[in-house]
């Protein structure tokens, strides 16, 4: 039981990373019906940009929590801008083509960025260790030991999700986003600037991916250019399991996948990755729209 609670905490922490990443997948899919295979690279880029900002401006000295948060937010905003740029260059010309063309383009972007980061001399393929952003200590609650970093990770993730919920549900741009995801052509006729909405969606997606990268790297400190692929796949599973196109679904799916992964790994570590895909297949076959999604109707 104690073991289970301990694992549950690990699972929630990993789940919050997956949830933030899955939101990006699900938002992009909701708006332009495209599986963004390059989304996980934003996570990797976020890790590297924060790594370089800290090592250039602060060196080895310890930075306070407020400064750390500021660095993460600034770094993630830059990655958000990169996300918008990538959308403009690689996906916009293909918008009227079958969505699978966008997916191929995303695979090209992914190959390009990962190998660019491997090839650039100051980054290189060697793993680097992510700087410590907060002073870590352990809190003991009953039988469970929780490191402070894990609590902060989950807390930041939840705060960001609440802000996102507010933006999507209560602001004008959020309303535009919901309109575009509902019907792109009709919302365009109603005066919604589709290009702007898509750019903002990519900004938010890339921003969240970069933040989740930093949260991930504070606990698992090794960063390298290829680190993001498996994380991205798991987050993608989370998005599909929760119901792709639905932000609440992505959050739920993220936490479910995080907890399931940690629990299965503790039993049989070789099986964990395949088991997640088994969950994905079963959910898709029984309830293709995901846990929270609405049933799809086919238009003739």
């Amino acid at each position: 039981m104690e073991n289970f609670l301990q694992l549950l905490v690990y699972g929630l922490q990993l789940g919050s990373v997956y949830a933030l990443l899955a939101i990006g997948y699900t938002m992009v899919f909701g708006i332009i019906k495209m599986i963004n295979m390059a989304h996980c690279d934003f996570l990797m880029m976020g890790c590297y940009i924060v790594f370089f900002m800290v090592s250039i401006f602060f060196g080895d000295q310890m930075i306070g929590p407020a400064v750390a948060l500021l660095v993460v937010l600034v770094g993630s905003s830059i990655i958000g801008g990169v996300g918008v740029g990538i959308e403009r260059i690689a996906y916009k010309p293909l918008r009227n083509r079958p969505t699978i063309m966008c997916m191929i383009s995303a695979i090209g972007v992914s190959t390009f960025t990962q190998n660019l980061f491997r090839a650039l001399p100051f980054i290189g393929p060697t793993p680097r260790s992510f700087p410590k952003l907060i002073q870590d200590f352990t809190i003991t609650v009953g039988p469970v030991q929780i490191s402070f970093a894990r609590i902060v990770t989950v807390a930041i993730a939840i705060v960001i999700m609440l802000i996102l919920w507010f933006v999507v549900q209560r602001t004008k741009i959020g309303m535009h986003m919901r309109a575009v995801s509902n019907d792109k052509d009709a919302s365009s006729l109603m005066g919604v600037n589709i290009n702007r909405v898509i750019s903002i969606t990519f900004f938010i997606g890339a921003f969240l991916a970069a933040v989740s990268g930093c949260l991930y790297a504070t606990s698992y400190t090794v960063i390298q250019p290829t680190m993001a692929t498996t994380l991205g796949n798991k987050a993608f599973i989370a998005a599909v399991v929760g119901g792709i196109g639905d932000i609440r679904g992505a959050v739920l799916g993220g936490f479910v996948i995080g907890v399931v992964e940690i629990l299965v790994t503790s039993v049989w570590s070789d099986l964990a990755y395949g088991f997640l895909f088994l969950v994905l297949v079963i959910i898709l076959l029984l309830k293709p729209e995901g846990l929270l999604g609405k049933p799809m109707t086919e238009k003739v």
Partner: protein
């Protein structure tokens, strides 16, 4: 004699293939083409088979599949287990080895086709992107199964080693040609026309009396069969297979080959797979930068020629009878260049 000449004249591609094969073999024996280039050529042939098998699903039937590497792994593992674990082919003499290798290949391909049907039946309830996701899921589940099977049968996570190196250039080239012609005949048959109808409009095809489900399952089985052949060739070329070789990034590689070459076109799949397999090897001198250039070139192809390099055209030697297929001839590249400039002119005219 006149009859023979006529047959040769009507099927000019066979002498050309034979000459190409003999030329490569001669150059290899003379030491001009080293074994590294031969290895690349053989890999390219295997990837051509994979791109063709994906073309049956993505190009002809309009079903997006992201799990082709999973089918390939079934073929590779089944045939490799037969030749390595069950039969111990390395101890046999020459002819028996070849017979065992061919038998294992066929058995592996048939098992893969059965797998294709078993996966296809539940997966075909889904459409579009969801089908792609579920095939990706099945591919990864298959990979997880290979990791779990005990090491004395399939090598578990460390992979199966010591597979006899039986797939030489002759067999791989032969199987590549056979699968290309299988695809050609499939596309020209009533099956293929039904598949094309399903791709263009499923509901209309259904209304015209085509049993959509049946033809989709047949497409899945045929595609898996070719993937199984390719998998067997891969296993017996590399002498070593490991579950992680057949991960989903391999599936996306095949997808990229197909779409860069031109989806729906058999020649496009051939050229795309060949070019994109050889390209990173040509760029090998650039070391770390080669895959950067590869990714950039891929993006350029997809953005500026979204229909792929071939864009629905076919080589003349395939003799496609299904209507509306434009033939690729020597002038075609010139037309591409011209069309690029025409677009600019049109845009300028529109701007004025």
């Amino acid at each position: 004699m006149g009859k023979v000449l006529k047959v040769v004249k009507n099927n000019l591609e066979f002498p050309i293939f034979l000459l190409f094969f003999l030329l490569v073999t001669l150059l290899h024996n003379a030491g001009i083409v080293n074994s590294y280039i031969m290895q690349v050529l053989m890999l390219a042939c295997i990837y051509i088979m994979m791109a063709e098998s994906l073309n049956i699903l993505n190009g002809m039937t309009g079903l997006s599949s992201l799990g082709q590497a999973g089918f390939m792994s079934v073929g590779a593992y089944m045939s490799a287990m037969i030749t390595t674990t069950f039969l111990n082919v390395s101890a046999m003499n020459g002819v028996a080895q070849v017979v065992a290798f061919l038998g294992a290949t066929i058995v592996g391909a048939i098992v893969t086709a059965i797998c294709g049907v078993l996966i296809g039946i539940p997966a075909l309830r889904l459409r579009g992107d969801y089908l792609a996701i579920v095939t990706l899921g099945f591919c990864e589940v298959i990979r997880a199964i290979w990791r779990v099977i005990p090491s004395d049968i399939a090598g578990a996570a460390f992979g199966l080693t010591g597979i006899p190196n039986l797939a030489n250039f002759f067999w791989i080239f032969l199987f590549m040609l056979l699968s290309v012609y299988l695809c050609r005949n499939y596309m020209d048959s009533s099956f293929g026309r039904a598949c094309l109808a399903i791709r263009d409009n499923e509901i209309a095809a259904d209304t015209m009396g085509i049993n959509c489900f049946k033809y989709k399952v047949i497409a899945f089985a045929t595609s898996a069969f070719i993937a199984g052949l390719a998998g067997s060739m891969y296993a017996h070329l590399m002498s070593y297979i490991q579950p992680d070789v057949f991960s989903y990034s391999k599936s996306t590689d095949f997808l990229v080959y197909l779409y860069a070459g031109g989806v729906g076109s058999i020649s496009g799949a051939m050229v795309g797979a060949f070019a994109l397999t050889v390209l990173p090897e040509v760029l090998r001198d650039l070391e770390n930068w080669r895959l950067v250039i590869y990714g950039a070139l891929l993006l350029i192809i997809i953005i500026f020629r979204p229909t792929g390099l071939f864009g629905g055209r076919e080589f003349a030697f395939l003799k496609m009878k299904t209507g509306g297929v434009k033939v690729f001839h020597a002038k075609t590249p010139i037309l591409w260049v011209k069309s690029l400039f025409n677009k600019k002119e049109k845009k300028e005219a529109a701007a004025k």
